[in-house]
């Protein structure tokens, strides 16, 4: 990088749209700055004090003029607002055909998990022209996922998933920053987003990978003895998880919620928060027993579960490493 860039690269269609608004605003501001500065200079020269005895007559204010400069900025402001809001929506709402990647931020690194199993730290490989949705969570304090070339930005919170999506249009390497101050090495919490050609990405994806996230999740599902209760047979003491993701879940207290990433995570860590109608509160909390990456693996597994795919209980399962202490039942 020899030259000094004055403008960030545009590597998504969204970036171009954001820049369009940016340039429009530059135009509007340029106009008003020129207007005010021009008037200041003009008045300063034209009406400079020529004699200390000058007593210019008072000017009565004109209501028309006052209303004019009240009413002219208003529609301009509203226009900008609507434009900005529309961009915000397209930033906030990912398309349906997204490739999903799970992101864990921690002091001071970014960890990525691809559904196919690859894991990366501070480097994120994606394919060009492929919409990508990041489901992000922090293990400690608030971080912020910021890729200037994509014009996207999203705080990464502890305890709750946030998402952001992008569709890169240009292969290349782009800066990834943490922009929310997070402690000592905040400014070392940086990385690179590597956008590859589709074919190269497929090769990269196929290379690493010791099993997909869902497969890892399946192992956990058996290791943690989840299958003991969440079995798909007559002895099931807990809801069947097949085809659960995205479905509406009726709760004991009458509410209905959608089974999304956040719901699954909460149900693993805090099972009593939302008890499914027709079931008892018997599941222990797994808080402190599995980390965010493992939760994401379990979630990926549950997402992949189709009817008949729940592991059988008599399947050979490794003994759990650390069994959660079951809570006293009433």
């Amino acid at each position: 990088m020899d030259s000094v860039p004055l403008f960030p690269e545009q590597a998504t269609a969204h970036a171009e749209q954001v820049d369009a608004l940016f340039f429009f605003l530059l135009l509007v501001s340029g106009f008003f700055i020129a207007l005010i500065a021009g008037l200041l200079v003009y008045f300063s020269i034209k009406y400079r004090r020529r004699s200390d005895a000058d007593r210019p007559a008072a000017t009565a204010s004109s209501l028309k003029l006052e209303l004019t400069w009240f009413l002219i900025p208003l529609p301009i402001a509203l226009f900008i607002y609507i434009w900005g809001a529309q961009l915000y929506f397209s930033w906030a709402r990912p398309p349906d055909d997204c490739m999903e990647i799970y992101v864990v931020g921690k002091q001071w690194m970014w960890k990525f998990q691809h559904l196919r199993g690859q894991r990366e730290i501070n480097e994120l490989h994606v394919s060009v022209d492929q919409p990508v949705k990041l489901t992000m969570i922090s293990q400690d304090v608030i971080h912020s996922f910021f890729v200037p070339a994509f014009r996207i930005h999203q705080d990464v919170l502890p305890g709750r998933y946030t998402t952001v999506w992008f569709q890169a249009t240009k292969p290349g390497k782009y800066h990834l920053f943490c922009s929310q101050y997070c402690g000592t090495d905040h400014s070392r919490m940086v990385g690179t987003v590597i956008v590859m050609e589709k074919r190269d990405f497929e090769i990269w994806l196929a290379a690493g990978g010791d099993g997909s996230m869902a497969a890892e999740g399946r192992k956990l599902f058996q290791k943690l003895q989840c299958v003991t209760c969440h079995s798909a047979d007559a002895r099931a003491r807990a809801p069947v998880l097949e085809d659960l993701f995205g479905a509406a879940v009726h709760l004991k207290d009458g509410r209905t919620v959608q089974a999304d990433d956040g719901y699954l995570r909460e149900s693993i860590l805090d099972p009593d928060a939302k008890i499914v109608a027709g079931f008892q509160s018997i599941m222990p909390s797994y808080k402190g027993l599995i980390d965010e990456e493992e939760i994401a693996q379990l979630t990926a597994f549950i997402k992949s579960l189709r009817p008949g795919q729940t592991p059988r209980r008599n399947e050979e399962a490794e003994p759990p490493l650390a069994l959660p202490i079951p809570r006293k039942t009433p």
Binding site: D253, D270, D272, S281, T329, P330
Partner: protein, 221 residues
């Protein structure tokens, strides 16, 4: 104009201006105070909406009778306060002194009762940070998440604690006023401090009136 010039500060034109300034100042201050509690109310509202069951359960664990009796004590103190202001206004010194003293006393009674209540909570392991055990709580209400009950209890102690601090300041305020009134410092022309003290006292009372349903009465028992 006034016989008692020492009670008029140099920068005021007359006693009426001085009195109005004092009253206005206190009202403005009370608007500020409202926002202090406002931050707590906002936090309370956010978490109560998120964890209704835990807040109801936490509320059930509190003793409504302590809350009820204390309300009566505080309301009585408000009555004596109002009568005290009136006494000072019409120049009945003895009434004013009696009522102010009684107000301070009732305020103290409130704090003593509150102290017993806190002690009871401590014994029953209801004080997060000092004495709280998840096991005890689960024995009490097994289906309610102790972590979130702690949130409720946190609001309970912060709100009543902040209210208690305000009351304590009020009691000191009243004690000083009682002594000054007893020494004959106030006249029907100059009783601004008593009126202002009264406004403060009533405000602290009003805050409690809202804490009662918010903390003790979330759901039926």
């Amino acid at each position: 104009m006034s016989a008692n010039h020492s009670s008029l500060a140099h920068h005021f034109a007359d006693h009426e201006q001085q009195h109005e300034v004092a009253v206005l100042g206190m009202w403005v201050f009370l608007a500020t105070e409202l926002m202090v509690f406002g931050a707590l109310f906002a936090g309370y509202a956010v978490y109560r909406a998120q964890y209704p069951a835990e807040f109801a359960a936490g509320s059930r664990a509190l003793n409504i009778w302590f809350g009820g009796i204390n309300t009566v004590v505080l309301l009585s103190s408000s009555l004596t306060m109002a009568l005290g202001v009136h006494g000072a206004q019409v120049g009945r010194r003895n009434v004013a002194v009696m009522c102010l003293a009684l107000t301070a006393l009732l305020g103290t009674a409130f704090l003593v009762i509150k102290g017993f209540e806190y002690h009871g909570d401590y014994v029953e392991h209801l004080v997060p940070g000092l004495s709280f055990s998840d096991q005890d709580w689960l024995g009490r209400e097994p289906h309610v998440h102790p972590e979130k009950v702690k949130l409720f209890l946190f609001f309970y102690y912060t709100m009543t604690g902040l209210h208690g601090v305000h009351l304590l300041i009020g009691i000191v305020f009243m004690t000083v006023l009682t002594i000054l009134a007893w020494r004959g410092r106030f006249t029907p022309q100059y009783y601004g401090p008593i009126e202002v003290g009264g406004l403060y006292w009533h405000f602290v009372d009003v805050v409690w009136l809202f804490l009662l349903p918010l903390l003790y009465l979330i759901g039926p028992r």
